[in-house]
């Protein structure tokens, strides 16, 4: 039965990560790579969530601290991981606390974000997946990008 069920619903692969002890995910097709951040070059006078620029093998990626973007906590992570996404012509590196697994979820577990979620995070969310263990918040990188570039 479960086999049958799987075949009727599209499967999505999600790349999960932790920010301030909360679980988030990007669609895995949006993620180019995950790297440990060695050095960021700060940009004076940039918004607080811009951690700086990262030299990614000769390409310049703009590092965005998701903690700061979501306004989650003041504590800075000294050793963040970077989820690198290519959006349009730009490389954006999202700084997260910890990388989780890549998981496969079925579309029938998807739901749009409940309206009670704080708008400061909901505005970047695509929706949620009700996995057996967790409720995954899936972020929409385009929404984040649009917010940045607005």
């Amino acid at each position: 039965m479960s086999e049958q069920k799987k075949s009727t619903h599209k499967l999505t692969q999600l790349s999960t990560f932790w920010v301030a002890n909360r679980l988030y995910a990007f669609d895995v097709t949006e993620v180019q790579e995950v790297v440990r951040v060695v050095t960021t070059t700060p940009i004076p006078k940039a918004p607080c969530y811009v951690a700086g620029l990262i030299n990614l093998r000769g390409q310049i990626a703009t590092a965005i601290g998701l903690r700061e973007l979501f306004g989650l906590s003041e504590n800075k992570n000294e050793d963040p991981m970077s989820v690198v996404c290519k959006i349009g012509d730009y490389l954006v590196s999202f700084l997260v606390d910890e990388i989780g697994d890549v998981i496969e979820v079925s579309e029938d577990l998807f739901e749009y974000s409940p309206p009670t979620i704080d708008i400061s995070i909901r505005q970047y969310m695509h929706g949620v997946y009700k996995t057996p263990g967790d409720i995954l918040s899936v972020l929409d990188i385009h929404k984040i990008f649009n917010f940045l570039e607005q």
């Binding site: 070059t41 006078k45 940039a46 030299n55 730009y90 940045l148």
Partner: protein, 810 residues
């Protein structure tokens, strides 16, 4: 029943347009050569080949209008070649050929602009039909009116061609295109056109060159006379260009080259790091290998650069059309020459100089070259020469545009510049001839006595100059009155790699493009006088060769330090980069000057650019990232700050920063001496009248002096006293001591009351566009200073006089 992928068609169309344009370029070059040497067989054959390829391609993409005309042209040329007694390529033929090929260019230009992906503009339906419609008239025009159709036996057939095409091809093509879709392959037109109009000369030859069937009316006539020759020619024409283009060149998308270029850049960075390790290890064999790597990668980089280079001829040759069209319009005979057409320039530069060059050429034709009559009067050759010469020099590309026209008359330039309010007569008097000529680059200047539709709207040369300077280039003008003018453009080889100065501030690296950098100034600790940072109204300035230059502290702009006091003696020397952005100069204080290096500026996310501080970022040789500073942004930022901050307390009507020169009207000042050293000035707006008053008409009451003036009591005040100098009584005494019987006063209004301001001597009234520079004087009484006739004049703040009004004295 799958249809052709739209993207496929799109690609096909793009390739077709690009290739055809190239062929047309080649053909035009041939025609030009033929114009000079009408009997050169090689050029004529090359022309045939181009024409034939154009026709073949057009048939393939179902652009049967081009094919039709190309074919007709081909046949006509061929026929004439075979039958003529006099040179075929006479002036008329050449003109007609030019017209036809330019017309091909126009068609292709149109085709390029339409968007085939949009459904309503599908190639099969309306777009092509619309083009066809437009072309019909032109075809008719070309076929019926141009003189190469003169042989009368050709006329009936061509007359048939015109109307038929007009009526039939548009709908025909539509249905035919549908057929294409069904067949999954774009087919040449002849499938359909053959059965509709078998007599049409246009459609058959290209694809079935070897078969005898293409012989419709004209070809038959040809064939009657020399069948084997005709076939020979067609074979030649068909075979050669295809083979040659397939063998020695390759069409590569620019984006791929860019990617390779990026990767090569990365390779060089890796190499640099390895070289550093090699030095650390000090192992011989490893070092040798590293050295080898260095050579190879450097060479690779050079070659890659060359690959991106395009011959400048790609654009210069296009100008021959402009020259041709314009010279006819202006009724001037002009010979256009291009030299050094194979000089390589990066394509980005090439793109960027296209418009400025066009402008210069137009200017040259419109203003530079005299009218026929004028040339005859001055016994110059009837045909004027305009030449573009390009070559490499000192790592730059030089493009000279030379004409043998009337040259630039400095007197005329001066007169117009004054009339347009660009400069004053006074300034002209102090200018060299060359400086006067360079006024043509001033904004708002136009020498055109008559504004024509070609040029002379007054937005010309300054735009050229700014555009070229934006690229990091320069424009020089050399002119000899009556002999001609040379405009020299100096351009960087590439825009991808920019020489830059790397500086450090607050621990971060910042790159400043060399183009913006004027010079570096180091202020040593404890240095005195002119070489020292001074403060005016809290704003730092430095005196540089007699001029005041506003300073911006990078740390302050970046808000890494909140309070910076430079007046306090510091142990370290201060580094100032003098920068120029458009017409504003300022000094940028940075912590350290690191190095000059070539950088590749990488784009930045646009929201970061909005800070107006950075224009991009770059990766340096050691892998660290430097932000490139947005100099224009910094300049405006600094300007705004100084307006909001320090300058808010002095609302002097005419005191803005020295930028935006050209927008400001002339300011007139009254220039005078007082009893203390130096000369002073007061804005003429605040001066009511100048008067001389007899000493004995003054009445002294205590430490106040009054005069009776026009029936009123006029208090006399000493300007010295405002500036903390001698009092009015002392000043009067000084005048009495030198036995003068009169005093000079400036009558001005303070608190709605007339007062007389006592001065030692009135010098002059000066009219200047120069704004009072910020002066390192903390006294608010002085607005700033202007320099006139080598003298520094302090401008008195009229607002200050209001504050320190006569009540102070009473």
């Amino acid at each position: 029943m799958s249809s052709i992928e739209p993207s496929h068609i799109e690609q096909l169309r793009k390739d077709f347009i690009a290739e055809s344009l190239e062929l047309i370029e080649g053909a035009l070059a041939c025609i030009e050569n033929l114009e000079d040497h009408p009997r050169t067989e090689a050029h004529a054959e090359e022309l045939f080949r181009c024409l034939h390829s154009i026709k073949g391609n057009s048939n393939l993409i179902a652009s049967n209008t081009i094919a039709a005309v190309a074919h007709t042209l081909e046949s006509l040329l061929y026929f004439r070649k075979e039958s003529s007694q006099k040179p075929i390529y006479n002036t008329d033929t050449i003109q007609a050929l030019f017209k036809t090929f330019h017309w091909f260019q126009d068609i292709l230009g149109r085709m390029e602009q339409m968007d085939l992906r949009a459904p309503q503009l599908d190639m099969s339906a309306c777009s092509n039909a619309e083009i066809l419609y437009n072309l019909q008239e032109k075809i008719n025009h070309v076929l019926c009116h141009t003189d190469y159709l003169a042989p009368s036996y050709l006329m009936p057939q061509d007359q048939v061609l015109g109307p038929r095409l007009a009526k039939e091809t548009a709908p025909a093509l539509t249905s035919q295109q549908r057929k294409h879709k069904d067949m999954n392959v774009p087919q040449p037109d002849n499938v359909l056109l053959q059965d509709k109009k078998p007599a049409n000369p246009a459609e058959n030859n290209a694809t079935t060159a070897s078969t005898p069937t293409p012989s419709e009316n004209m070809a038959k006539k040809e064939a009657d006379s020399k069948p084997q020759l005709a076939e020979q020619f067609i074979k030649n024409a068909k075979g050669t260009p295809l083979n040659s283009s397939g063998n020695d060149s390759l069409r590569v998308p620019i984006s791929r080259l860019d990617t390779i270029m990026d990767l090569v850049g990365e390779l060089v960075l890796c190499r640099n790091q390895i070289l550093q390790y090699a030095q650390v290890f000090g192992e011989d064999r490893f070092s040798n290998v590293c050295l080898e790597l260095k050579h190879v990668s450097s060479q690779l980089q050079d070659e890659m650069m060359k690959t991106r280079m395009q011959p400048i001829g790609n654009i210069t040759s296009k100008f021959s059309r402009i020259v041709r069209d314009l010279s006819q319009k202006l009724d001037k005979k002009i010979k256009f020459k291009v030299e050094g057409a194979d000089t390589g320039v990066d394509r980005t530069v090439l793109e960027a100089i296209k418009d400025p060059l066009t402008h210069l050429i137009r200017n040259c034709l419109d203003h530079g070259i005299e009218t026929k009559e004028e040339r005859a009067r001055t016994s110059k050759p009837e045909v004027a020469t305009v030449m573009i010469n390009s070559f490499h020099e000192g790592g730059m590309v030089v493009v000279d545009i030379t004409d043998d026209g009337r040259g630039i008359n400095p007197e005329k330039v001066a007169a117009i510049a004054i009339k347009r309010g660009v400069v004053t007569q006074h300034e002209i008097d102090h200018m060299s001839e060359q400086q006067v000529i360079e006024l043509i680059f001033a904004p708002g200047f136009s020498t055109a006595e008559q504004v024509s539709d070609l040029s002379g709207r007054g937005v010309g040369m300054d735009v050229v100059l700014t555009n070229i300077e934006k690229l990091g280039g320069m424009v020089d003008v050399q002119t000899q009155l009556g002999e001609g003018t040379t405009m020299r453009l100096k351009l960087p080889l590439t825009l991808a790699i920019v020489p830059a100065l790397i500086t450090k501030s607050a621990g971060a690296l910042f790159a400043i493009p060399q183009v913006m950098l004027e010079e570096l100034v180091r202020v040593e600790p404890g240095s005195q006088g002119s070489h020292q940072i001074e403060y005016l109204q809290g704003a730092p300035v430095i005196r540089l060769r007699g001029k005041l230059l506003p300073l911006i502290h990078l740390n302050q702009v970046l808000e890494t330090e909140t309070e910076i006091n430079l007046t306090e003696p510091k142990d370290e020397s201060i580094n100032i980069a003098i920068l120029k952005a458009e017409d504003t100069s300022f000094g940028l204080i940075v912590d350290f000057i690191e190095d000059t290096t070539d950088i590749v500026v990488k784009p930045m996310m646009s929201f970061l650019k909005k800070t107006q501080l950075y224009s991009g970022a770059t990766i340096l040789g050691n892998g660290s990232i430097a932000l490139t500073l947005d100099i224009m942004g910094l300049a405006t930022l600094a300007h705004r700050e100084s307006k909001n901050g320090h300058r808010s307390d002095i609302s002097g009507p005419d005191l803005k920063k020295e930028d935006r020169h050209e927008l400001q009207p002339h300011q007139e000042y009254l220039w005078f001496e007082i009893f203390r050293n130096g000369t002073y000035a007061l804005s003429l707006d605040t001066v009511e009248r100048l008067e001389e008053i007899e000493l004995n008409a003054l009445s002294k009451v205590g430490n106040q002096v009054n005069a009776v003036y026009r029936g009123h009591v006029l208090p006399i005040l000493s300007i010295d006293e405002f500036l903390g100098g001698i009092s009015i009584v002392e000043a009067i005494q000084k005048i009495e001591e030198r036995n003068s019987s009169k005093i000079s006063i400036i009558v001005s209004q303070i608190d709605q009351q007339d007062v007389g301001l006592l001065v030692n001597q009135i010098r002059d009234i000066i009219s200047t566009k120069k704004q009072a520079n910020s002066h390192p004087n903390t006294q608010k009484a002085i607005l700033g200073e202007i320099i006139e006739q080598e003298e520094i004049i302090s401008v008195i703040n009229p607002e200050y006089l209001q504050v320190a009004s006569p009540q102070k004295a009473s």
